[in-house]
């Protein structure tokens, strides 16, 4: 009963954030996109239907995960969720909690702590006890926020547990633009320095940093126009108010289908299965990849055994048919990484944020 009440209140909460719009004032991309859950957060999460569960199942294959066989050290696991309720991250975690709880044998509860560009949630999650009673949902803002606002945490203040979902950015331009490839686009931009305007989802946010890193790698001079979330950024391109936009293909999907926008490339490690004809930035020589990841981290110094239990519970949830079908219909890509892989990814991408934060003059003053 209590659980339901909490859920309802959390949900109420969330949405109110969306209504006010004030809550989305955070500098980071997803914080604003969280404010309009469906428009951008859900869509950005909305990754490809592809690759489902390959990695997850390969990990799980060696040891059969049987629920109830582990003895979880505490009575309840609370997942602190920095994004608002009703957004993409929140919906996915809530879909997973039932089977995680079944595996661990204790209730798993999601508690949203939105606000301040997710700084509130991460700050609170970091200060919890490392006994397994509380973990935090990790999203890409965990890397971006420390560079743009005064917060008391970095990704190093957490124990990495695992990653379970990722999506990537893409480069989009107006459908009637004179360039059809990234090369032509870059050549055009070089001939017209400062004329190309990139819409992004918020200052210092993931997509802003990605666009800046790409412009850097291509050696072009562009103007970055920040909007409140990935959805509005995509709209700005579709409405002809900017020349280019780098957000996730899912956020751009509706405009691509209506013939207003064309995609030139994706910034993913490999070609996306749902867009097999679209080259990656890496293929074309622009090795700028930022991952919009979703995973779990815990407070510092968590017991490795507890970490293992939560990893197993996450994999158990990812293999659950209900979770699988939820992720497929909602276009979430399963992408399981264990703690080491997850941490390596965090380290690699943190360097990009650090580099661009200085170049874009975002570093907190």
């Amino acid at each position: 009963m209590m659980k339901n009440v909490k859920k309802i209140i959390a949900l109420l909460a969330a949405v109110a954030m969306a209504t006010t719009g004030l809550a989305g004032c955070g500098s980071s991309a997803e914080s604003s996109s969280e404010a309009a859950p469906a428009s951008s957060e859900a869509a950005s999460s909305a990754a490809s239907e592809q690759a489902t569960s390959q990695e997850a199942s390969s990990e799980a294959a060696d040891g059969e995960l049987v629920p109830g066989t582990v003895k979880y050290p505490v009575k309840q696991l609370t997942i602190t969720c920095p994004p608002a309720a009703g957004g993409g991250t929140d919906l996915l975690i809530r879909a997973m909690t039932a089977s995680m709880s079944e595996y661990l044998g204790v209730p798993v509860i999601v508690q949203n702590k939105p606000g301040a560009g997710m700084a509130i949630g991460f700050s609170a999650g970091m200060k919890e006890k490392p006994d397994g009673s509380s973990i935090t949902a990790a999203v890409a803002e965990m890397l971006a926020v420390p560079y743009v606002s005064q917060v008391d945490f970095t990704y190093k203040d957490f124990t990495p547990i695992c990653n379970f979902n990722s999506c990537y950015g893409s480069l989009a331009v107006a459908a009637d633009a004179p360039y059809n490839t990234v090369e032509e686009f870059v050549a055009y931009a070089k001939e017209h320095p400062g004329e190309i305007r990139f819409s992004n989802s918020g200052v210092g946010g993931n997509w802003h940093v990605l666009a800046a890193a790409f412009a850097d790698a291509a050696g072009i001079e562009v103007t970055h126009v920040p909007f409140d979330g990935g959805g509005p950024a995509a709209n700005a391109l579709a409405g002809g108010n900017v020349e280019a936009c780098e957000v996730s293909p899912q956020e751009l999907d509706v405009h691509v289908k209506s013939g207003k926008v064309k995609l030139l490339c994706t910034f993913s490690p490999e070609r996306l299965p749902e867009l097999p004809d679209l080259p990656t930035g890496t293929e074309l020589g622009y090795d700028t990849i930022l991952t919009i990841f979703r995973g779990f981290v815990g407070p510092k110094d968590m017991d490795p055994e507890v970490v293992k239990m939560i990893q197993d519970a996450t994999q158990y949830a990812l293999n659950d048919p209900e979770v699988t079908s939820f992720m497929e219909t909602q276009h979430y890509t399963k992408n399981y990484m264990n703690a080491e892989e997850f941490y390596a990814m965090l380290e690699r991408e943190d360097a990009i944020y650090a580099d661009q934060a200085v170049k874009l003059g975002l570093t907190k003053s």
């Binding site: 109420l12 469906a38 859900a42």
Partner: protein, 495 residues
């Protein structure tokens, strides 16, 4: 096809879900602190198990009902149930003070219905055209709209323009708190992480209106001042309906347009329509004293945004406001990807939604009118009982926004400020308007300048933006010019 659609709409499950949605919406809207967006999000997961069209209709019904429901508390207890009803307070509560609460509620119900139906007609017939206009609305246009909106402060200031401007400025200053959207710089946060996100709008609104009203009532109870609780007339007269008909038309259309613009919703459109009606009225001085047009304008307008907001949602996949943003998620869950394709692939579902939307407005009218007598009874509840209940609702509502106790503190402070401002004769509506429009104006002004590389010409080169700015300037200076002409005429006459 038409027959199929009607068959689809008039099946028991559908009718029941629309009715249920509208009824729930009205109750949620009427509660201060609970808004239509919360209601839509709360209900969304429950619609997953339903048929796509039935599930969507529950949400649309709730959306329409909640926007209307906000006016009930605005009229009865001087507390807007939702931000959209903030403008309804201006004239609505005056009716209740005269014992005509029923008449006011009747006007609000009919106007909301009228606004909803007008927006529905636009939705059905010219959705694609409006959607194209909405897409052209970018930063400069949004800034110009907000700039125009801020000029409205002049017409909602009540007796004293100076006090109204002071209230408006206070609202603008409060809106500055938090992280700046364009550069990410923290302003007036004093190192507090909580303030970094800015003040949440709902706690401030609830505190300013509801909590301060509670404080005032406590004072009245303490002083044993007796309020006239008797209600005289309970339904609007035929003359009322005749008076408000043109108002509903104008406000409904305005609401539809503003609703279609992404990022602008019922709260803004209600103020814009109120202002517009005051300008075209033959007796503008009566606005704010409790006249039918003063309720009809904001109510027809905010319900007009319901159909308006659905236009870009369905045709472009762009949500027009926070409610439809949540609905976009619901559409995706049901595998209905909005956009031009939806009208081709799922034409039947789309037109079923349109028919259902009209029906939701009819149900809203029926429920509203039949509930009139029951709603009015709220006024006769002894204040010793009503005030504590409202205070509890305010506290719970504010906490529920972010699960954060700091929001309750914000609400209480806003309540105390609202109490003293009311005592000092400062109007509260300008604060709310400025809080809504401040961030919108500022962010889009600076975003426009980034887009234009710093050239102010961007506001003059774009026709829609220019039009709004011209209207704002004219509306600001027209009263002064009019006064000048009047003075001249009088001096000539006396000479």
């Amino acid at each position: 096809m038409l027959l199929d659609i009607l068959m689809n709409v008039f099946r028991p499950a559908m009718l029941l879900s629309i009715l249920g949605g509208v009824a729930m919406g009205i109750s949620i809207g009427a509660m201060p602190g609970l808004t239509s967006t919360m209601g839509v999000a709360l209900l969304m997961p429950m619609t997953f198990a339903m048929d796509p069209d039935v599930g969507m209709m529950v949400l649309i019904g709730l959306f329409c009902g909640a926007i209307y429901g906000g006016s009930i508390t605005a009229i009865l207890i001087n507390t807007p149930g939702t931000p959209s009803a903030a403008a309804t307070v201006l004239d609505g509560y005056k009716f209740t003070m005269r014992g005509e609460a029923g008449r006011a509620l009747g006007i609000s119900t009919v106007s909301s219905f009228g606004g909803g139906i007008i927006s529905g007609i636009f939705l059905i017939f010219i959705a694609p055209i409006l959607a194209e206009i909405a897409l052209k609305f970018s930063a400069p246009e949004t800034f110009a709209l907000a700039f125009f909106g801020i000029s409205i402060i002049a017409s909602i200031s009540g007796n004293s323009l100076i006090k109204g401007l002071m209230s408006g400025t206070l609202g603008l200053i409060l809106a500055l708190i938090g992280m700046d959207n364009i550069t990410g710089y923290s302003r007036f946060t004093f190192g507090s992480t909580f303030l970094m996100a800015g003040l949440s709008f709902i706690p401030v609104l609830v505190g300013l209106f509801a909590m301060s009203q509670c404080f005032l009532s406590i004072e009245e109870i303490y002083e044993r001042r007796v309020m006239d609780n008797t209600t005289k007339r309970s339904i609007p007269t035929l003359q009322d309906l005749k008076t408000i008909f043109p108002t509903i038309l104008r406000a409904g259309i305005t609401g539809t347009f503003i609703g279609a613009i992404p990022g602008a919703g019922g709260d803004i459109s209600a103020f814009v329509s109120y202002d517009m009606e005051k300008r075209v009225s033959k007796h503008p001085e009566k606005f704010g004293t409790g006249i039918p047009e003063g309720i009809a304008a904001p109510e027809a307008s905010n319900n007009g945004t319901t159909g308006g907001a659905l236009i870009p949602l369905l045709t472009l996949g762009i949500p027009g406001d926070a409610n439809t943003a949540v609905m976009l998620g619901a559409l995706m869950v049901h595998n209905l990807t909005p956009g031009p394709q939806l009208f081709v692939d799922q034409a039947e579902t789309v037109y079923t939604l349109f028919a259902g939307f009209m029906l939701a407005n009819v149900f809203m009218l029926i429920l509203g009118l039949s509930g009139l007598r029951a709603f009015v009874k709220i006024v006769s509840i002894p204040r010793q009982v009503l005030v504590p209940v409202i205070m509890v609702l305010c506290t719970v509502g504010s906490y529920a926004i972010n699960n954060n106790f700091n929001d309750v503190i914000v609400m209480l402070i806003a309540g105390v400020i609202g109490y003293f401002l009311t005592k000092g004769g400062f109007p509260l509506s300008p604060i709310v308007l400025a809080l809504i429009l401040g961030p919108m104006a500022e962010g889009n002004f600076r975003r426009s300048l980034v887009m234009s590389n710093g050239s102010y010409a961007i506001f003059l080169e774009r026709p829609i933006a220019l039009a709004f700015i011209v209207i704002a300037v004219i509306s600001l200076f027209l009263p002064i010019i009019k006064k000048g002409i009047k003075v001249q005429k009088e001096s000539k006459a006396s000479a």
